[in-house]
Subunit: 138 residues, 2 copies
DNA sequence: TTTGACCTTGGAGTATACTCCAAGCTTTAT
DNA sequence: ATAAAGCTTGGAGTATACTCCAAGGTCAAA
């Protein structure tokens, strides 16, 4: 079991963030020590990694709560509910991937086209390439 | 040229958002009409689409400003600056894509495994699958 | 010509997600 | 035994990104 500070360091987040997530029902401590200290197990670590990843790709804490509640709120959802919610999230994720592929393509084009030298960027083809970034993104 | 309301509707954002972006140097109106109304051209439309996409995949307005300033701030950056900044962003984008691929894999697994019926989700295999989501995400 | 829809500005208010602080208890090291 | 580091709570403060409002100008249609 980890104390809050240990888990925080392992995840590169603050202890305040962990307490904030507990207050907002995203992740409760696994248990409490006799002295009242929060204790977290490996499962909690994995859930936090999940939350951090989800945040990184643009899900709000509220949306992440929704994703996590599939797990937590078992009895209150039917299979049909869960399936349709999950399909919806899958569509969202696919859309996000598609957008990022566009960014990736544009940026790769820019990197490939740029001379990388010391002259002013005014004369660098990377900039003209970026000016067409939206066209590329389609 | 579009008036602010027309552009806002085309993009499904509020006019307040467009004025907010102008105030925060993300996108100025292309010009002003004689009556003081903001006017936007097709280029502005494309820049806004770019901003909206970037936001959707988790870039902050500040980061987006950085991306846009490659375009705007030509004379103040060398080619080497621009190239290294762009390569850094590319790494970020690749990381985000990898994370989303994990989500996608997990969610697809869940959708495929779920019966989709009316019974309580307690008995649905989609949930047990989700409990291993972090393992799947690796 | 006047009603309604649209635009202007500046500034205040809100939601989200932290982040910091005070006051105090616990534990570890010297 | 006492200091330093770590934990507790509740609550206040901050950054980001809007969102709304007031007071007023503009414009097209009835």
């Amino acid at each position: 079991m980890y104390r809050i500070g240990e888990l925080a360091e392992k995840l590169s987040v603050s202890t305040d963030t962990l307490r904030y997530y507990e207050k907002h029902k995203l992740l409760a401590a696994t248990s409490r020590a006799d002295n009242g200290y929060r204790l977290y197990n490996e499962e909690a670590l994995r859930v936090m990694q999940f939350i951090i990843r989800a945040k990184g790709v643009g899900f709000s804490l509220n949306e992440i709560n929704g994703l996590l509640s599939i797990k937590i709120d078992k009895a209150s959802h039917s299979c049909a509910d869960v399936k349709s919610f999950t399909e919806q999230k899958l569509t969202q994720v696919n859309d996000k991937i598609a957008e990022l592929q566009c960014f990736k393509g544009s940026l790769e084009l820019l990197v490939a086209a740029c001379c990388g030298g010391e002259e002013e960027a005014t004369h660098c083809s990377i900039l003209s390439a970026l000016e067409n970034v939206d066209a590329i993104n389609k």
